[in-house]
Symmetry: C2
Subunit: 209 residues, 2 copies
DNA sequence: CAGGTTTCGTATCGATCACTATGGATAATT
DNA sequence: AATTATCCATAGTGATCGATACGAAACCTG
């Protein structure tokens, strides 16, 4: 049942679950959750329906596992940028420029899976749409946390609204995702990111200064 | 065939096509093109399938007519902002604040139909996705045109990249659409818009000054 | 009123959707 | 070798998809 621990007996699996999950992830990334049919997954993963269902339970579980894999393999730039021991301005710069690169990688679907996966959904897929929304909210919260840290360190003005600015940055990144999907090049996305950086407030005074 | 000109004979239509189109538009806005089924449309429009197909040809044509209606009835703020006889900065301010309001109207789906309608699509619906992309591109082009006018008038620095800045603004609006879909309030969207405005360059010198 | 035209309501159409029942094949365990 | 467990391939499940065939009903023109 679990594809991470070795089975104790029985016929061994004739395919690599991680490779199959990668193929599924890219398909979901390109077409979104609902518009990706089992027939498409079957062909892209090179598997029969029973193989897919035995390994990944059902389409919804497969998608959730694809989200986890996407988070682990495609958007490490975000955590890197937010956790790097650099100034807040530099961290945000790395975040936006990292997104410019990650959203326009050659050979990959444009934009971010968390945005493309299911912006709109049928009532039956509402749970999936909510899951993606939670991912987006978590990203915004991570940005807000970094901004709060920066404000506490004196990198940002004391009166800056951390939540408001995080919502701006998360919004810009979501907008970059759509621009990428519309064919924007990495250079165009970098320019967009640089432009967005201009909204950053000037360095705040250290407390007590 | 055309619902705009009076039929010359035959049994009269038992419903108002514009009201039905409105209902369809809101459903597409909420759930997107593909995730909106005929069954949902039937119920929301209060019509039988033959009534829908007789009046609107097919689902794709219905969606395209919904896009036109959306453009005419929901996002007039954009044309108003870009054509108002005000400074470029004020025009952009009205554009972004207008979006904040339009994307979070009570009783309406959050965000913009041009974004929610089909960010990702199945291969069969690629034409619809392309149509929406064209609408988004047209919006960006309209912004760029206004910026070019402003730069020529001395409202903006001569070295400003009109295309780059238009891509930023269009991206911010798309990002606002997603934030609205994620439940952002009109106040939060206004703050986002105001933040984005901070990236606007200072007024350029009049030529020759 | 007769003829022509369009829309009406009812009852579906074939295609595709996500998903699975069945039984043979291949491994570790005993 | 016998048992047990898992996976494989084939084929097909009911449900829903977008879209229609059919004939009766309701209007305009002559």
């Amino acid at each position: 049942m679990d594809n991470l621990e070795k089975a104790r007996g029985g016929r061994p699996r004739a395919f690599d679950p991680d490779r199959a999950l990668d193929a599924a992830m890219h398909l979901f990334w390109e077409h979104g959750y609902e518009a990706t049919s089992l027939a498409m997954l079957r062909e892209a993963m090179g598997l029969t329906p029973p193989q897919i269902y035995n390994a990944f339970t059902d389409k919804e579980t497969l998608f959730r596992k694809a989200l986890i894999r996407y988070h682990q393999t495609e958007i490490g730039f975000a955590l890197d940028a937010l956790s790097a021991p650099v100034s807040t301005r530099e961290a945000i710069r790395r975040l936006l420029l990292g997104a410019a690169e990650a959203y326009s990688r050659p050979g990959k679907p444009g934009g971010c899976l968390f945005v493309s996966g299911a912006l709109a959904a049928s009532p039956q897929a509402q749970a999936i749409a909510d899951e993606l929304k939670a991912y987006r909210k978590a990203s915004e919260a991570a940005i807000a946390e970094r901004l709060a840290k920066g404000r506490a360190a004196g990198d940002l003005p004391e009166n800056l609204s951390v939540e408001g600015f995080a919502k701006y940055l998360a919004g810009v990144m979501n907008g970059m995702s759509i621009q990428a999907r519309d064919g924007a090049s990495v250079e165009e996305l970098r320019i967009l990111a640089q432009t967005a950086l201009a909204a950053l407030p000037a360095e705040g005074q250290k407390r007590g200064a």
